[in-house]
Symmetry: D2
Subunit: 137 residues, 4 copies
């Protein structure tokens, strides 16, 4: 079951061509990723990172930019889990604009790390049920 | 033949985990892309965009993050052309750090557009020889 | 009467010292500025910029950073108008964190411009009543 | 004696009005600040921050934006020290474009901190001669 997050496209996302600059779409996806943790696992990403010192940096990305995002657009992002390994965690994103057009798709692999050493570690057990619940084929 | 561009990793690229935040690695790749135009086609990207109103937005990306980039690292980026179509233009990037470690790889498809309408248009003929010269299988 | 806007401090605002990087606090202030238009003048900033081609770029800033912002903090921003001239428009910001600590203050002067020519122009009359209503000494 | 640093205005600095977005001018100033350390004190800012765990966050800023910066402009930044206290360190910036026009001025106060605790500390003695040499009234 996918999690849904809404965000507006702000002025600072837009470039000279009047469309969202593509690295900032990845930044927007990171905001969606951060918000997904609360919904999926009932833990905030700040709590994971600040207190538990657990992080999930991106190790691979594939993305398709299907239509431009403009200033003032509202993105409805859906995000789900596509794989849960010992340390690796796969994500799938789709962004729709206010007209229902799919503007962006991405699959991303993240890996669970100790935020102090940046060494790979197993995904903590207490996070697994929430992730499993949002797993989609 | 690949083009080589050197860049330092600045303070503002780094996140709480003391590594470059991944959307900013895409931004760094865009800087490399901008610099590549002068070398490949003897035209600056500002001239293309500002004066000729021709742009090459990204339509798809795949990337692998192989090792972290740290504050003060020096990136040697190599960039080459992997495909030249009527409107589409494929790019391949590899970033090495100062130890020679490959830290990031990416393939990106861009499409030639009119910067005012954002409509697809053929790649201008005068750019084709320079692009062809940097084409790699 | 000040307008109040709430925003969370996201991962990408934070630097190596685990505090918000100061240029991104100015970016946050711009988000607050954008949201203020709807409340103050019943017009969105996207409508002003995209449709009416009216913008308010910053021409001067003074700011004090009183305490750090951390990842996961919630900012309550208050923003009011301090001066309305023919073209110039002065703003005052205060950011509080979730403990009620004032973390940031800023006064900023903006100027009304035609977004196409970037030439100074008078503030449109229909915006003046809303701005006047949020004017504070 | 001021230090001079040259930088190009990249695509990602530019907003919908075809001018550099003002928070990114502060980011550019931070790059200049980083480069100034090598010239002034013969130590890189990465060495200060990464190895010595000494940082100089901004505590107050005043800036004037005199003319727009456009895509492809070349900035010649001059930066000097205006005050050296026990912990506080004042900076003055002026940015000129390629036509010699002063586009931006800023005075900024920074404070020396321990990067781990973010507590104020005295400016290390070995940095003082270099800073003193670049002090301007």
């Amino acid at each position: 079951m996918a999690v849904t997050v809404k965000r507006n496209i702000g002025f600072s996302m837009i470039d000279m061509a009047n469309v969202a600059y593509y690295p900032r779409i990845f930044d927007l996806a990171h905001h969606v990723f951060e918000e997904a943790w609360s919904v999926m696992c009932d833990v905030t990403y700040p709590e994971l990172v600040n207190t538990r010192r657990v992080g999930f940096p991106v190790v691979s990305v594939s993305s398709t930019f299907l239509a431009p995002l403009r200033y003032g657009d509202t993105v409805t992002a859906t995000v789900s889990i596509v794989s849960v390994g010992t340390s690796s965690l796969g994500w799938r994103y789709a962004f729709n604009n206010q007209d229902g057009t799919v503007v962006w798709r991405s699959e991303q692999m993240t890996v669970c790390v100790d935020m102090d050493s940046m060494k790979k570690q197993p995904i903590p057990d207490d996070l697994r049920p929430g992730l499993a619940q949002h797993l989609e084929a």
